[in-house]
């Protein structure tokens, strides 16, 4: 019997030693991902969302990096694995799709070559069979003329087509988990919707769970079932999507929601923004990292607020939530 939880991250912290002291990029991140679930991680640039996923994948090679905590994937702690063992998992059980499809493929190899490389890194199948599989995969992700396109080079593909090909490559071995790091950020809005639909369709047909990293609340609302909001390296709110959208608790989440342009609102009113600059992890305020920008900040915020969850597993790290002031 398989455990219900595919991925359990416990107290994950990532810090980098630099000349200006230790930079704590991710602090005490804990969450679980159930099989078949889609988790959305939201946050602005520098909030630690990409770094935490790179840590999960074992892709942080920086010698100055310190990673602590546990990343339990399918019952084993990935942080305790050797690089050799991790390599067997990367690409096969956990695949990753990156932000910019224009630069994510080595330009001198054909699309088919890239997909074949992915397949053959983890299985002993012949070139011909891998090549045929590549064509099938391209067809599955909706690339027209896959038997011709398979021999083309990345620069001959448009951005959206490239991202489709990259997704085909990532899903070629039916990974249990797909981590998509801002997969639609570099694409046109119309293409974004198509890519998200594609991810959702493939998630079902390939039985994969997905973690999608984004700063776009729209992407979250389309795809995720669970949402995790990060700010300055910490998780500030976590809940199911419906609960988060109907009842955001952390002031930062509310700010994010309000700053999404809406077509159904009065257009003469200005778009709301979150005041100030995103907190730099190089120079964090003491206590709650958001308090300099928070409209509801008060004296208690000079302490770091604990992360508290309610019975419905909707949690936030804010004193006001704890006190029941924000509902």
């Amino acid at each position: 019997m398989l455990a219900d939880n595919l991925l359990e991250v416990k107290n994950l912290s990532v810090s980098f030693k630099t000349r200006r002291g230790t930079v704590r990029a991710v602090r005490d991140l804990s969450f679980t991902l159930k099989r078949g679930e889609v988790l959305g991680i939201v946050g602005e640039s520098g909030s630690g969302k990409s770094v935490s996923m790179n840590a999960v994948m074992g892709l942080i090679q920086d010698q100055n990096a310190q990673i602590t905590g546990e990343v339990i994937f399918d019952g084993v702690d990935l942080l305790k694995k050797s690089d050799e063992e991790l390599r067997a998992i990367r690409g096969k059980d956990i695949a990753m799709v990156f932000q910019d499809p224009m630069t994510a493929l080595t330009p001198v190899y054909t699309i088919g070559w890239h997909i074949r490389e992915q397949i053959q890194l983890h299985s002993d199948i012949s070139n011909d069979a891998a090549y045929k599989r590549a064509i099938e995969l391209l067809e599955e992700v909706g690339i027209p003329d896959p038997d011709k396109r398979v021999d083309q080079y990345p620069h001959e593909f448009s951005g959206g087509m490239r991202q489709r090909a990259i997704i085909a490559m990532a899903l070629s071995l039916n990974p249990k988990l797909l981590i998509a790091d801002e997969p639609t950020t570099a694409l046109d809005v119309t293409i974004q919707a198509q890519i998200l639909e594609l991810l959702e369709r493939l998630r079902k047909s390939h039985n994969s769970s997905i973690i999608i990293i984004t700063h776009d609340m729209g992407v979250i609302s389309e795809l995720s079932s669970e949402v995790l909001v990060m700010y300055a390296g910490r998780m500030v709110e976590r809940s199911s999507k419906s609960s988060l959208f109907s009842n955001p608790r952390h002031p930062y989440t509310k700010g994010l929601m309000n700053s999404v342009p809406r077509v159904d609102r009065d257009r003469t009113s200005r778009l709301e923004t979150i005041a100030g600059q995103p907190a730099s992890i190089l120079n964090l305020p003491s206590g709650c990292a958001f308090r300099n920008r928070c409209p509801l900040a008060h004296a208690a915020c000079e302490e770091i607020p604990p992360f508290k969850s309610d019975v419905s597993d909707h949690g936030a790290a804010c004193f006001l939530v704890e006190a029941g002031a924000v509902r």
């Binding site: 892709l59 990156f98 493929l105 890194l121």
Partner: protein
């Protein structure tokens, strides 16, 4: 390509034969030439005719009839001198290029792969030493060692200085060129080690390298199949320039030090004697090889980098 060569020939011709205030006949005939020689020069090269005719006549003597004669050198024909020098220079530069490519690429890639250990800076220092050794000095030192006292014992197999044609004796050709090859290649190997290593280390930051690692590829595969493969693109253009220049006569110092009668040395003597017809010929020859080398680079480039291919 043909157009480029034509332009160069016109330009070289104009510089040497149409410079205002200079009588090319007097230049060609050399110092202290008598009136009779001057007359002869003017007649054979049609120097009293209009400029275009003079150009055509010059090219005719140089390339078609190949009887352009150097007066400074008392009647030595230019064409055979050049054709005799070509195999020597080609042998020297080809052999050296093979050595420096093997060393440069091999050590450069190895250093990039070892960039987290002491091996990388150690190779870097080797590279700097290689770059810092001047050919004329290194060559003389090599000669001192191999042709001096030790010639009777350890290096008795090293033939005396000079070039032995391959057709005459393949072993003599090889042994005679071995030390010139090594001397010439050390400088370039040093440069290439650094270029390749830095190129690869830079490419390691690229997004696609991260993709490959996320696919589960090992360090070796990332290094060889992706980063090194990409680094070949700029290295090939560098190589084309270096190779073209060397074949065109830049191997001069090596040729002089090791007594090889190559193009560089020929140009050098021609310039010393102000042997105008010979200078004209060697410049044309150098231009020809640089253009050829660039054309080959263009072809290689398209083969290496699909992005520059146009039309399919």
């Amino acid at each position: 390509m043909v157009f480029v060569l034509f332009s160069i020939s016109v330009l070289v011709f104009l510089i040497f034969f149409a410079t205002p205030g200079v009588d090319p006949a007097a230049r060609i005939a050399g110092r202290n030439a008598d009136q009779l020689t001057l007359q002869q020069v003017r007649a054979t090269l049609d120097l009293d005719k209009p400029l275009p005719i003079r150009y055509l006549s010059m090219m005719n003597h140089l390339f078609i009839e190949r009887d352009l004669t150097s007066y400074v050198n008392r009647g030595a024909e230019v064409w055979p001198q050049v054709t005799q020098a070509i195999p020597a220079t080609l042998s020297l530069v080809f052999g050296a290029a093979i050595i420096w490519l093997i060393l440069g690429l091999g050590l450069g890639i190895y250093a990039a792969g070892m960039r987290k250990s002491w091996i990388d800076p150690a190779i870097g220092i080797l590279g700097i030493i290689g770059v810092s050794l001047p050919v004329y000095w290194l060559g003389e030192v090599v000669n001192l060692v191999t042709q001096g006292k030790l010639h009777d014992t350890v290096f008795s197999w090293v033939p005396p200085l000079g070039y032995v044609p391959f057709t005459e004796s393949p072993t003599g050709w090889f042994l005679g060129l071995l030390f010139p090859w090594l001397t010439l290649s050390i400088l370039y190997a040093g440069i290439y080690i650094r270029v390749v290593r830095n190129e690869i280390v830079g490419l390691m930051q690229e997004d696609y390298i991260k993709t490959v690692r996320a696919k589960g590829a090992g360090d070796r595969r990332v290094l060889i199949k992706h980063a090194s493969r990409m680094s070949m693109i700029p290295v090939v253009s560098l190589f084309g320039l270096d190779f073209g220049a060397l074949v065109g006569g830049s191997a001069l110092l090596t040729e002089v030090v090791f007594g090889i009668q190559g193009i560089g040395r020929l140009t050098f003597t021609a310039l010393q004697n102000f042997d105008l017809p010979l200078i004209m010929a060697t410049v044309m020859y150098a231009a020809f090889f640089i253009v050829i080398a660039n054309a080959i680079v263009d072809v290689l480039y398209a083969w290496l980098d699909p992005r520059v291919r146009v039309g399919r």
